[in-house]
Amino acid sequence: MLDDFIWRATLAGILVAMAAAPLGCFVVWRRMAYFGDATAHAAILGVALALMMNISILAGVLAVALLMASCVSLLSGRGVAMDTLLGVMAHSALAIGLVAVSFLSGIRVDLNAYLFGDILAVGKQDLGLIAGGTILVLSLMAWRWSALLTATMSEELAHASGIQPRREQLVLTVALAIVVAVALKVVGALLIAAMLIIPAATARPLSRSPEGMALIAGGVATVAVAAGLKSAYVFDTPTGPTIVSVAALMFVLSSLLSWSYQWVRQ
């Protein structure tokens, strides 16, 4: 089964969807959308550095994403105008990464694959790495779930319960860097943030508990991956963007559903 590229692609997509869903919920709850963007965009810089230094792409991306996420998370405690700062960092990371890649004239680099993903080219080794990353992220989230939730609701209540909000922030930072590293191959740097945010936002009107929202987000993302892959095959469209488009469509449906439900109740 794993010898078939379609199966590998589907499995890779579903794994990334499962890792991104609970993390995406925290990104939405804590209003860190730009944080996700900045970290994901920094991945391109990681690709460039990895190619220059001839180390594995995954390691390069992981390192740079971790660095970027820590920078942003460190600055967020300093009361700097976050919105602007994150905007600056997200886009400069992308631009500088693209410039750095262009210096690599000697090596043939398929930039599109890194910007938009190349899910159909996922090999067995990639699949193993993606599975490992997903298991790591899911274990991290499961282990810290209650503490993360408490710290997300109120830093002071967290302190009063003996939880260090800074440490929980670090957990999210690390998880985000891992997700970026494993999702790069699947949806590409430009659309990783979409895989974090859209499924979570779609799940919100349909859920009544934080855990429910994470599970539904996982379901939404899985359906988006499966339906996106199929549609991309049928309509011959780029796979990553098609998956995100399907997720966006589901977001619209879920919003309409909740609006009409509220309208009927009134």
């Binding site: 939405v28 709850w29 804590r30 209003r31 009361g79 209650s146 503490a147 939730l149 408490t150 997300t152 609701m153 109120s154 830093e155 002071e156 209540l157 967290a158 302190h159 009063a160 319960s161 939880i163 979570a200 936002a201 919100r204 859920s207 009544r208 508990s209 934080p210 429910g212 929202m213």
Partner: protein
């Protein structure tokens, strides 16, 4: 710390020469505050006097530059924040909120809600609660810890006058039931007069403290809040004493 708490007069919480600097600005200095078992201490002070900062230092959310906060061994702190902004994207029921970060038995949750005067709100969504209900759920959350020290940071904010009075009456009942010390921050001087054993007047440092009647007469207090406030307190005290005579 060889300081097991036995009698009612031993302090359950004490700060020594607490000094807090935030962003290069000195917010608090030389804070020596003592809270005894089952005592109600009210912290008053003008805006920016460092009341909330002091509370945050007590619960460990802010690290003081120097000085220390001593809490009697084994004493638990229940904390009711000034306000809590729950992001509307985070769906959470009252029951789930009370189960964070540790789960409690259903019976204890119901008890705490009852003691906080929140009735049967277990199944409600947090963001459907009114301001008063929300405040009581926060109180229930603090009570679930079986606190020895209950700290309330302007917990009546957002409540109307009647709601505030009811809330503080409840705090008194809670203190008796849980046998805990209460430290509350308040800007409502009337409430302070009614319910405090001990008033601490804060303005970067503790500028005066003592029984409410004595604090109201002190010159430091008048300087901080103006003669008008002091007179209204004196008036209230008078009123209160008369009632006490009749009763």
């Amino acid at each position: 710390m060889p300081d097991p708490i036995s009698s009612a007069s031993t302090p359950v919480l004490r700060t020594r020469q607490l000094h807090v600097v935030l962003g290069g600005r000195q917010i608090l200095h030389d804070i020596n505050l003592t809270l005894h078992r089952q005592e109600i201490v009210t912290l008053i002070g003008p805006n920016g006097s460092g009341k909330s900062t002091l509370v945050k230092a007590l619960i460990g959310a802010i690290r003081p530059l120097s000085g220390r906060v001593d809490i009697a061994t084994g004493a638990r702190i229940g904390y009711v924040p000034q306000r809590l902004h729950l992001d509307p994207t985070l769906p959470v029921s009252v029951a789930r909120f009370l189960d964070l970060p540790r789960r409690h038995s259903r019976q204890r949750v119901s008890e705490a809600l009852h003691d906080a005067g929140a009735g049967d709100l277990r199944r409600m969504a947090m963001h459907h609660l009114s301001g008063g209900q929300f405040q009581r759920v926060l109180l229930a959350r603090a009570l679930l810890m079986q606190p020895d020290i209950l700290i309330l940071d302007e917990a009546s904010q957002g409540l109307d006058h009647k709601g505030t009075a009811a809330f503080y009456k409840h705090i008194e009942a809670v203190r008796q039931r849980y046998r805990c010390a209460v430290l509350m921050v308040s800007h409502d001087l009337h409430v302070v007069m009614r319910s405090a054993n001990h008033v601490v007047c804060l303005n970067g440092h503790i500028c005066c403290e003592g029984k409410p009647e004595r604090v109201a007469l002190s010159s430091d207090y008048r300087a901080l809040f103006g003669d008008h406030a002091a007179d209204s307190l004196a008036f209230y005290r008078h009123d209160h004493e008369e009632t006490a005579d009749v009763g």
